[in-house]
């Protein structure tokens, strides 16, 4: 086994660190799914996983391929309608941590998963919101997991699917969004916090420079005075990820 982690593995590992034991987390598909299952297998065994499909308190025996995987149902604590998930769990304020990715993000943490180009005549039609908009509105903490590039970290999103800290000139508070908004952005180069509602780089991956990060970003980034160096996943974590959690490489491409 190569001991050098891939960017995906670093992202999954770093995202997992944001999850605490007993956190109620709304698990999305892809890397967030892997990060949650990694957290549960390591430092947060009581992580409480809820899927928008209606499965609550899941302990899947296999890595779920989709958020509606039957393995999420078997041995879960509860299965409820999607109406209940969105109304009684999410809108009610029970979700501590939400996870999002996207095609574009701006400095305020606004995310686009809808279209590239104009909405009425799109260059690329993306899947759309799914539950993303309401997850961004209601989660107390919102973790964003995205690879960096000038195409994805943009000055202005072509479309705001999910609200960040400030959109079209208004703050979340002014708009009445109950959740806390984006708390961390975990990328393949660095980790950002939000300060005064704007992204600020607080951690760099080992060997990554500010210049490299700025070069992969479409807007002028703020940096903490002394960004820390993100911890590298050890061999135990890599073994867990590669051999147990995602042996087929579904998410660790």
């Amino acid at each position: 086994m190569a001991t050098e982690p891939t960017p995906s593995e670093r992202m999954a590992h770093r995202a997992a660190k944001e999850l605490h034991d007993d956190d109620v987390v709304f698990v999305g598909i892809g890397l967030p799914n892997l990060a949650c299952n990694l957290a549960r297998a390591t430092h947060a065994p009581s992580l409480f996983m809820i899927y928008e499909s209606g499965a609550v308190g899941c302990i899947p025996e296999r890595l779920p391929v989709s958020i509606g995987d039957p393995a999420l149902v078997t041995d879960s604590l509860a299965v409820v309608s999607q109406a209940d998930i969105f109304q009684m769990y999410l809108q009610r304020g029970l979700i501590e941590v939400g996870f999002l990715g996207g095609a574009q993000i701006d400095r305020y943490g606004n995310i686009n998963t809808t279209v590239i180009g104009s909405y009425s005549n799109p260059k690329v039609r993306l899947p759309g919101s799914g539950g993303a908009c309401e997850i961004a509105v209601h989660s107390k903490r919102l973790l964003v997991v995205m690879r960096m590039s000038k195409r994805t970290f943009v000055e202005t999103c072509d479309y705001i699917t999910s609200p960040g800290h400030k959109l079209h000139g208004k703050t979340r508070q002014e708009l009445g969004h109950p959740g806390g908004g984006p708390t961390k952005v975990i990328t393949d180069l660095c980790v950002m916090d939000f300060d005064g509602g704007e992204m600020i780089v607080t951690e760099l991956y080992p060997g990554v420079t500010r210049e490299q990060v700025q070069a992969a970003c479409g807007f002028s980034l703020r940096f903490a005075e002394k960004p820390t160096t993100t911890e590298t996943p050890g061999p135990d974590v890599l073994r867990l990820l590669r051999e147990k959690l995602d042996p087929e490489g579904l998410y660790l491409k």
Partner: protein, 303 residues
């Protein structure tokens, strides 16, 4: 009691008319591909297809020319890629543009909730300042009469037809489901005409022995169809697993219009119905998908 059992062919022919709005519900679980394929075979046109997650079956209906409009909240092949027929008809290069009406999951679900509850609208805390509300004029905002805060609203949706796949139903349409519910109950109560499709048709006594499992009552059901394996490549908890390999393979098939049409020719137009479709499946695949039993215990309804 009315015996509503029909073949899929009869049920679709009698229920789904050109130009109508149709929901084939299910969230990953219980997506009735058999109904979608029958609609394609009967060459329905100008349908408005409604569903949180269009999935492959709606993409196939789009590719086959059944749809004029898609009402949805997430259109993709989960974890794999895009819905290519939909993309080809919605991106700027498209010739015959598909009309779309787009929500988030919570918003579209709320439209079903309003329709199911007989209310003209449904309120939700969402959308304020977001572009979804700017590009969909059906989304409005009201002030809460108590707190004054801004609350989004969506209008009721009353689709012409809802197709509900379930584990078991009786001949009157009393349908029981376990595992993921999706928005089946809400879309059934919202719809004007309901088709229940079941893996098993059971005696009404089976339903009555566990009434808390019934999610759709027969009184709102028009036809019942017995269609084992009717959800493949989607899945049915306790019956067969999701055919994840098919979803992955679909990416290649659907990217290429010729391959896509060849698939429809062979597996949709080329078969009479679901039984024949199932016969075309590889025995190894069927064996792999077959659910390994995990029985729950019964509970006591006595008094």
């Amino acid at each position: 009691m009315a015996d509503k059992l029909r073949s899929m062919k009869e049920a679709i022919a009698d229920t789904v008319k050109d130009g109508e709005s149709v929901v084939i519900d299910g969230f990953t679980h219980l997506i009735c591909f058999a109904a979608g394929h029958e609609i394609i075979r009967q060459r329905r046109q100008d349908l408005t297809l409604v569903r949180l997650t269009p999935d492959l079956v709606y993409d196939q209906m789009i590719a086959a020319g059944c749809a004029k409009k898609l009402v949805f909240s997430w259109a993709g092949n989960p974890g794999v890629g895009s819905l290519h027929a939909m993309r080809r008809r919605t991106e700027s290069s498209a010739k015959d543009r598909l009309a779309i009406e787009e929500y988030s999951h919570f918003g579209l679900l709320s439209r079903f909730l309003a329709g199911a509850a007989g209310l003209p609208f449904w309120p939700l805390k969402n959308y304020n300042g977001c572009d979804i509300a700017k590009t969909n004029e059906a989304i409005k905002f009201i002030a809460c009469p108590y707190t004054g805060e801004t609350i989004a609203t969506v209008p009721a949706l009353r689709p012409d037809v809802a197709v509900i796949h379930c584990q078991r139903a009786d001949r009157e349409g009393n349908a029981q489901v376990w595992g993921l519910y999706g928005s089946q109950k809400e879309s059934a109560f919202a719809a004007k005409k309901v088709i229940v499709v079941a893996e098993e048709i059971v005696d009404t006594q089976v339903i009555r022995r566990d009434p808390n499992r019934t999610i759709v009552p027969g009184i709102i059901v028009r036809h019942v169809v017995h269609e084992p394996f009717g959800a493949h490549p989607s899945y049915v908890q306790g019956y067969y697993d999701r055919d994840n390999d098919f979803y992955v393979a679909w990416e290649d098939i659907s990217r290429d219009e010729a391959k896509y049409q060849a698939y429809l020719e062979e597996f949709v137009y080329g078969v009479k119905g679901r039984a024949e479709y199932k016969q075309k499946m590889d025995a190894g695949v069927l064996a792999k998908l077959k659910a390994k039993p995990r029985m729950s215990e019964g509970v006591d309804y006595g008094y």
